[in-house]
């Protein structure tokens, strides 16, 4: 069983979305998994990102999709986009 180091709530949530999107057991996906190991190709990647965008209400730019190669990168990317989004909706301070 692959180790699950430092998988926080967000990481676990992203992993569940990836597993659901690819119709694979969630236990087979860990933070250390690469897309190559999981047999996820670029077309699968587009589908995964589509599901992540829906789940987390974020928008992933095209360049971000093309460079995704691992679960860890995906979690980091989602985290960054969520943070960016929360910063833009924060009310401005005079």
């Amino acid at each position: 069983m692959p180790e699950q180091l430092e998988t926080d709530d967000l990481g676990a949530h992203v992993i569940r979305v990836i597993a659901r999107s690819q119709r694979i057991p969630v236990e087979s996906v860990s933070l250390d998994s690469t897309f190559e190991e999981l047999k996820i190709d670029s077309l699968d990647g587009i589908n995964i990102v589509f599901e992540l965008e829906k789940e987390f209400q974020i928008e992933v730019p095209d360049e971000g999709v093309q460079n995704l190669k691992s679960v860890r990168e995906t979690v980091a990317g989602v985290r960054q986009l969520i943070e960016q989004k929360s910063q833009t909706v924060r009310p401005g301070v005079a």
Binding site: D41, S42, L43, I46, F50, D62, V65, Q66
Partner: protein, 403 residues
């Protein structure tokens, strides 16, 4: 086997509503990929497209005609009118039975289909327009052409995504060559700027946010385009006997399937299509001077096409001119093969190879002479035109200058 002459050309695209108008601009390297007239709400991620902006249906059809004709079929019909007029052919009873109409279109009448869905799903109106099916069906162009010109022979439409019209032209070429028909009106069309279809393309993340830059290091994807190309193919002796002007010759056709991935291209499949096309044409790779590339401007296509060309042409690749006219008229999907066939024939006829427009910087992985930005005047004996479609379906046509 008969030689196959091309005796008529008809073209509608972002660069013009006729062959001459379009060729004048394409041969100069003018880009027809412009900001979309309707940027979408919310805006599409891509801002540009090659729309046939000056194509006004009422210039060519009555309002009654248009009840049955969707944009893709309108453009195909107008292109057919131009090609058949140029050929001078009259489809009298004998020729009518001995002529074929074979067109390519990947999705047919999208606007009508979407109107139907809007009624059903947005307006909750279960009654759609009665003419939805005749407008939507991918064969609407072929059927209209057959109806308008009284052509009774074999008529059908091929749908193989971006290779649709190369497949259609290839089949038509083989039918004339084998003597099954005396003439064929063949090509293809696509009208892609329907909202649902644009959103579907947006979701694939292969459309460039700005203009496409085939073979450039900083290319970011394709630019969509609309248009139609129709060619009149004719038994060579038949064309000569009646004193027709022969614009070019189709000499070979090859097609293959990657059997690799539903969207990602590979090198071997396209290489086979090109090899088999040259074999069908009975010409050696060294005789080819120009390749009108599939050249979509995606990262994947341009590098795999480069490798495939190298594998087929070997050392001769250094002497090949390879350009992507999609850099000017966009990727016209089901219409691509036909529009690009016309451009290739005219390149041979006029001795001008159109450039790959919008080129910025070379990509070492695309080590070809891609005729960047400026056209090249040069006399060429033979040329090929490639289309490599989603689903891994590849088709290549081989042309010779008419001698």
């Amino acid at each position: 086997m008969n030689r196959v002459a091309v005796t008529g050309l008809g073209l509608v695209c972002a660069l013009g509503n006729s062959t001459n108008e379009s060729w004048e601009r394409i041969s100069r390297g003018e880009c027809g990929i412009r900001p979309l007239r309707d940027p979408g709400n919310p805006p599409y991620k891509f801002r540009f497209g090659a729309e046939a902006q000056t194509f006004q249906p009422l210039d060519y059809f009555t309002e009654k005609d248009l009840l049955l004709l969707e944009r893709f079929a309108q453009m195909a019909t107008v292109a057919a009118r131009e090609a058949i007029a140029q050929s001078g052919l009259r489809f009298d009873s004998e020729l009518a039975d001995a002529s074929a109409v074979i067109t390519g279109s990947s999705v047919g009448g999208q606007f009508s289909e979407e109107e139907g869905y809007i009624r059903l799903y947005r307006e909750n109106n279960p009654r759609v327009a009665p003419l939805t099916i005749p407008r939507t069906m991918s064969n609407a162009g072929a059927s209209r052409i057959s109806l308008e010109f009284g052509i009774h022979g074999p008529a059908y439409t091929v749908s193989t995504a971006c290779s649709s019209s190369n497949h259609a032209l290839g089949q038509a070429f083989w039918m004339v060559r084998s003597g099954q028909v005396t003439a064929a009106v063949s090509g293809g069309s696509e009208a892609v700027f329907a909202e649902g279809l644009l959103r579907a393309w947006e979701a694939m993340r292969v459309v460039s946010p700005d203009v496409c830059r085939p073979f450039s290091a900083d290319r970011r994807g394709l630019s969509l385009g609309e248009g139609a190309g129709i060619l009149v193919l004719e038994n060579w002796d038949h064309a000569r006997a009646r004193g027709a002007e022969i614009l070019g010759e189709i000499v070979g056709f090859g097609m293959s399937s990657d059997a690799h991935h539903i969207t990602q291209p590979c090198v071997e499949g396209p290489a086979k299509a090109m090899e088999w096309a040259l074999k069908d044409a009975n010409i050696k790779p060294e005789q080819v001077g120009y390749v009108n590339a599939h050249g979509t401007g995606t990262q994947a296509n341009d590098v795999t096409e480069t490798r495939a060309i190298h594998s087929v042409f070997g050392a001769h690749t250094d002497r090949l001119l390879v350009s992507s006219s999609k850099s000017m008229h966009g990727h016209t999907l089901g219409g691509a093969g036909a529009i690009e066939a016309i451009i290739t024939i005219l390149a041979l006829k006029h001795g001008i190879v159109p450039p790959t427009a919008n080129f910025t910087a070379p990509d070492p992985a695309c080590d070809l002479d891609i005729v960047p930005n400026e056209p090249r005047k040069t006399s060429i004996e033979a040329a090929i035109s490639n289309t490599f479609a989603f689903g891994g379906l590849n088709a290549t046509l081989v042309f010779k200058r008419a001698l």
